[in-house]
Amino acid sequence: MSLLLFDHIQTAQQSLKRNRLRTALTTLGIAIGIASVTTILALAQGVTQSVSRQVDAVGGNVAVIRPDAETSAARNANPLSLQQYATSSLRESDLKLIRDAADGLRVAPIMTLETTLSTRDDDSTVGTIVGTSTDLAETADIPLLEGEFIRDAAPITPATIGQELALDLYGEENPIGKTFSVRDTSFVVVGTFERLDSPVNYNGIDFDQTVIVRLSDAKKLNGGQVQLQQINIVAESSQDLQAALGTIETELVEAHGGTDFRIVSGEDVAAPTSQLFTLLTRVMIAIAAISLVVGGIGIMNIMLVSVAERTREIGIRKSVGASSQTILTQFLIESLMLSLIGGVLGLLLGVALAYGLGSVLYFTPVFTGLIVVAGLGLAVLVGAGFGMYPAARAARKDPIESLRQYR
C-alpha cells in the first residue's frame, strides 16, 4: 500500500502541475488562512512570552491579587472598560494585612490614574500615574536608567518616570530634578527607568509612558480614594509564597466578608493580563479561521471540478483494477497536497507578516514548534475535511457510466 501512496503522490503532482494557475490560486486561499492564523498565534505567543520573561526576571515567585471583576456583568458588556475598575474591591488596608501575613514578602499595590501632566514651560501631556510602594522596583523588574526609585521618606513628592514620557516632557534635557505638576500637586523627577518596550505585561502598564509615585500621593490626587488595580506579591521562594498565599486568602476573605478578589500565581501570572487582549486574540483567530474555511471551500470547489473533468480517467482506472478505496485515496492525496503546499506557503507568509507587524508593534512574535505544527495540522485538516466529499464522489463513480463520458 505504501508504494501505491507514492504513486498517488506522483499522480497528484502531475495533475496539479497540469493546472498550474488553478493550483496556485487554490493554494493561495489556504496560504492566506494559515498565514493569518500563524501570525496571530505567533504574536500572542510573543506577548505571553514577554510577560513570562518578566515574571522569571523577578524570580518566578510572583503572585498577583486582583479585584474579582469576573462577577460583574458590565465586564462582558464592555470589554474596553476592563482596566479601569469602577470600584475596586481591594482596599488600602489589605496591604498591611498582606505584609503581615508572612516575613520577607514584597508587596506592591498598583493604582493607576490617567491625568494631564504639565511642566513649568506649559508643556503638557497625557500620562499614566501609578501609585505604588517602593517594592514595585523588585516586583516588576524595572531597571533604573538614572537617579533613584521613589522613596517613602522624602521631603518632596518624588516621581520616577519612563523614558518616553521623559522625552515628551523635557525633550533631550536631563529630567532628573525637573518638576511637573498634576492638578495642584508638584512632583520632582528623581529617576528614570530604562526603556522597556513591553507595553504588555502582567501589571497591565506601559512603564515607558508612566509616572511612578507613592501610593499616598496618588491617593491625594484621586481625592482621597484608593483604587487598587492589583497587588503584586513577591516572596523569597515559591514555598514561602504558597504558604503566605494561604494565610493571605483566609485573612482577606475574613476582612472582606467574602471572596471578591482573585489570587493568581505561578504560570497564570504570565498569561496576558488584559482581558481585552485575550478577547481580541480570540476574535482575530475566529476571523482567520473563517478565511481558512473559505480557502477550504476553494479546495473543495476545485477538487469537484477536477473529479468532473477526470470522470473518464476514473472509469479507466477502475476498469484496469483500481478499487473505490484507491480512487478515494488518490483524490484525497491530491487535495491534501494542495492544502499542504498552501500550509507551507502560509507559514512562510505568516512568519514574514508576524515580523512585519512585530516591528510596528512593540513585541516580537515568537514561533514555537507548536505553532508550526498547528499551522500545518490545520492545513491538513482543511485539506482532508474539504477534500473528502469530492474524493468520495470520485470513488462512488460507476465505471461503466464514467467510461461513457466524453472528454
Binding site: D7, R317, K318, S319, V320, I400
Partner: protein
C-alpha cells in the same frame, strides 16, 4: 477438451435488469455460459441484445441482479467491490471500442497503469510495460501521448495494456469499431496471435467478418444466447475455417477473400506480416515507422 479442464468462466442463470416499472427489461435473461481456457469467442448480435452488458458483467464492471458467475472456479458475483477490483487488476484485461487510454499519460504509463494497482513499483512497472509494447512493435512510441498515435496504434497500446497483467481472460468490446478496415485487420491479427499463444479472448463485435478469427461464435438475441457454434480453428486450419464460413449468408465475399490471404502471410511471423502490409496496401507510414 471441454469438461476436462476447469472452465475460465461459468455463468449460471445470470439476469441483469435495466429500467424501472414499465420500462424494465432484462438486458440479460438467464444466460448460461461456459468458457474454457484458450477459446476465442466472438459475441454477435443486434444492438441492444445484451452483448456489452454481458461483457461488462464478465469484466466485473457490472453486477448481475441474479445468477452466479464463476471466474477461474471462484464465485465472484457476491464479492465486495474491493475484491472485485483486485480480481480485475489481476485476472482480466479489457480492450474498449474507444480505446480508453488516459490522454494525459504517455503510452508506456498507460500500459503500466494496471500494474500500479498490484502495488508494483514504478521501475518494474515500466519495464514490464516496455516488454509488452515491444511485442507490439511500439517501443519507439513509448513516450508519445495517445493523441499522437494513429487509431490502430492506439488500440494496440490498449491491447498491450490489457495484456500487461497477464490476465486469464481478455475481453474486447468492439475493438475495431472505431478503426478503418486496415487497422481493424491489424488489431484482429494481434488478437488472433494472442489466441494462438493460449490466451482466452471474448470479443463483442458487430462485424460478421471478424468472426472468422474466432474459435466459437455466440449469437445473442434479446438478452439470451440464440446460437453458440464452435468452429475448429487452429493456426493450421484457419484457411479451412474461412472457407467453411463462406457458406453463411451473412459474410461478404470481399472480407473472406481478404482474410485468408492475410492469414497465410501472418502465420509466419508478426514482424513479417506487419512489414508486408504497407507494400500490399499502399502506404501505412505510421505502422512502418513503428516497426522500423
Amino acid at each position: 477438451m471441454p469438461g476436462a479442464k476447469q472452465p475460465v468462466i461459468r455463468l449460471k442463470d445470470v439476469v441483469k435488469k435495466y429500467g424501472l416499472g414499465d420500462a424494465e427489461h432484462n438486458a440479460l435473461n438467464k444466460v448460461n455460459l461456459r468458457v474454457d481456457a484458450g477459446e476465442f469467442i466472438a459475441v454477435m448480435g443486434p444492438s441492444g441484445c445484451g452483448k456489452t452488458t454481458l461483457l461488462n458483467m464478465l469484466g466485473l464492471l457490472d453486477r448481475a441482479d441474479d445468477g452466479e458467475y464463476f471466474l477461474d472456479g471462484k464465485e465472484v458475483e457476491d464479492l465486495s467491490d474491493a475484491r472485485r477490483a483486485h480480481i480485475r487488476s489481476r485476472q482480466i484485461g479489457i480492450v474498449f471500442q474507444n480505446f480508453n487510454l488516459i490522454e494525459k499519460m504517455t503510452v508506456i504509463e498507460n500500459v503500466a497503469l494496471p500494474l500500479t494497482y498490484h502495488g508494483m513499483n514504478r521501475v518494474k512497472r515500466l519495464e514490464a510495460a516496455s516488454r509488452v509494447l515491444g511485442s507490439f512493435h511500439l517501443n519507439e512510441r513509448e513516450y508519445y501521448l495517445p493523441h499522437q498515435l494513429s487509431g490502430g496504434q492506439i488500440q494496440r497500446v490498449a491491447i498491450a495494456r490489457a495484456l500487461v497483467n497477464q490476465p486469464s481472460l481478455i475481453l474486447a468490446d468492439e475493438p475495431t469499431g472505431n478503426l478503418d478496415s486496415r487497422s481493424s485487420h491489424i488489431i484482429m491479427e494481434e488478437l488472433a496471435e494472442l489466441h494462438r499463444r493460449g490466451n482466452t479472448i471474448i470479443m463483442v463485435t458487430h462485424n460478421p467478418n471478424l468472426t472468422s478469427y474466432a474459435s466459437r461464435v455466440i449469437n445473442m438475441l434479446d438478452g439470451q444466447i440464440a446460437s453458440d457454434k464452435k468452429i475448429r480453428v487452429t493456426a493450421k486450419s484457419r484457411t479451412e475455417t474461412i472457407q467453411l464460413r463462406t457458406v453463411k449468408p451473412t459474410t461478404s465475399d470481399k472480407a473472406n477473400k481478404k482474410a485468408p490471404a492475410k492469414k497465410s502471410s501472418a502465420k509466419k511471423s508478426t514482424t513479417k506480416k506487419a512489414r508486408k502490409k504497407p507494400t500490399r496496401k499502399k502506404a501505412a507510414p505510421a505502422r512502418a515507422e513503428a516497426d522500423a
